[in-house]
């Protein structure tokens, strides 16, 4: 029996990728008749003396980005492997399904997207349940760690703790990796650094929220670090989707009346898309702390309120590269150029 997996190897994208990142489709694991943990271990052993972050993906499910946009596909498990080992208590993290409920949609307004034809009836995975987290304590992030490698924020940020390198993989970039599209790889830069902090409040979110709703709601900044927010992740490489992909998924939220800063995050990307698309922005619900961070990267109330031509849906997507700010120096790659598909014997 063969197990298929994808790997973005260390050194990919002309050396920009600093560590191995493996993606295994849950359906391929099921077809091989093994458990997700054992699939991660098998890949770890196949890598020999090397190390990797591992994401287990269910492309029939859905997940939610940090700024509250539903995406097709989900991380349903993650691991760190090194020298064929997985740390006993911190090396693997299962992500349990979050069942649909009216209460969830009521408490988390961005989840109204789940009711649309795009996603209705699909299984949702975001962050781990309390049981999933196991030995992790309240201060531990949703992270796996084995040997040199840490895989954090439910498989969207990986680090090598020995050479101290790091790389981000916003979820839409992971979606492209799994579906053979194209990706933008480059330094995250100050705008993405600020945007990462503009999150929504959820129970069992990818980054925040356990049994209780996360304390940071739409319109707030989780970084909450003023002019320094733009520096937090600015120097790290990122694997992102083309901006047209980000635009398509984000417009689905704007199309059903979700408002940046009120129902979905106030990230530079969502604010810029709302302005171009002629949709409302919850100016008064965005906190002063968030405005400080936005203004530090040139996103001001004045610029967002200035009159401009309202574009159609197709125009917004076609012009996404100029509408959505950030990652200006990133290089576009076909996934086949930076991601290898491999098989191992089970």
């Amino acid at each position: 029996m063969k197990l298929k997996y994808r790997i973005v190897p260390k050194g990919a994208a002309n050396g920009v990728v600093p560590l191995n990142w493996v993606f295994i489709e849950k359906q391929d694991i099921d077809a091989a008749g093994i458990l997700p943990y054992d699939a991660c271990l098998a890949v770890g052993k196949a890598l020999g003396d090397d190390c990797a972050a591992v994401n287990i993906m269910d492309m029939d499910a859905i997940t939610v980005t940090s700024d509250g946009i539903i995406a097709n596909g989900a991380v349903v498990g993650l691991a760190s492997v090194d020298h064929g080992m997985i740390n006993k208590e911190f090396g693997y993290l299962n992500i349990s399904e979050i069942p649909f409920s009216d209460k969830l949609v009521e408490e988390e307004p961005h989840m109204r997207l789940w009711l649309t034809d795009y996603y209705k009836g699909k299984k949702l995975y975001r962050g781990p349940s309390t049981q999933d987290r196991g030995a992790r304590t309240s201060h531990n992030e949703n992270m796996t760690m084995t040997g040199r490698i840490a895989n954090n924020n439910v498989g969207s940020e990986a680090m090598n703790m020995v050479d101290m390198t790091e790389i981000l993989a916003p979820f839409f970039g992971q979606y492209e990796l799994m579906t053979g599209g194209s990706v933008m790889i480059g330094v995250a830069g100050p705008i993405v650094s600020v945007g990462i902090g503009m999150i929504v409040s959820e129970r069992h979110g990818r980054i925040f929220g356990g049994d209780n709703l996360g304390a940071y709601r739409a319109g707030m900044t989780a970084h909450n670090s003023g002019k320094y927010a733009k520096t937090v992740k600015k120097d790290y490489p990122a694997i992102a989707a083309p901006k047209s992909v980000l635009a398509e998924y984000s417009l689905r939220a704007l199309d059903i009346g979700l408002i940046p800063g009120q129902h979905i995050g106030c990230s530079p990307a969502l604010l810029s898309l709302a302005k171009a698309y002629g949709k409302p922005i919850a100016f008064d619900n965005i906190t002063e702390r968030a405005w400080i961070e936005l203004e530090s990267v040139g996103i001001t109330k004045e610029s967002l309120k200035a009159s401009s031509k309202v574009l159609t849906r197709d125009e917004v997507i076609a012009q996404a590269d100029s509408i959505i700010p950030g990652m200006d120096d990133a290089v576009k790659y076909d996934v086949s150029e930076i991601c290898e598909i491999k098989y191992l014997d089970i």
């Binding site: 208590e89 090396g91 030995a135």
Partner: protein
């Protein structure tokens, strides 16, 4: 409660003695607790470690014993004590902060090891 908890210097001496108990010429190295100038350690666990060091030396091929202590939780939380020291050595004000630190796990000490006998008990949280 002297019997319940072992002094840090005594711990160092006990594990060093355990390493050379069978063959006095066995080399010994301990690392990982350099930042702790004083501490008390659970005595029953110190005894287990002593026994395990002695057990490791039962293999006649063992010429050196290495003992390394790493955080059980590799994403550890630290309290940061920031002090301003006056010319006379006193401190008028200190600021406390906390900070998380993600460090390599014990697997980094296990690369190439043929057999790993994990006797750790489950965490007590």
């Amino acid at each position: 409660m002297k019997l319940m908890h072992t002094r840090l210097p005594d711990f160092y001496q006990k594990i060093k003695d355990a390493a050379s108990k069978l063959r006095p010429d066995t080399d010994f190295e301990v690392s990982g607790l350099e930042n702790f100038k004083s501490a008390k350690l659970a005595s029953l666990r110190v005894g287990r470690v002593e026994d395990e060091i002695f057990e490791i030396t039962q293999d006649e091929g063992v010429k050196k014993v290495e003992v390394r202590l790493v955080p059980y939780n590799p994403e550890s939380m630290f309290t940061v004590v920031i002090k301003g020291i006056q010319a006379d050595g006193t401190c008028k004000k200190a600021i406390l902060e906390n900070m998380y630190l993600s460090s390599p796990t014990e697997e980094c000490d296990l690369f190439g090891v043929e057999e790993i006998d994990d006797r750790r008990t489950g965490n007590r949280q």
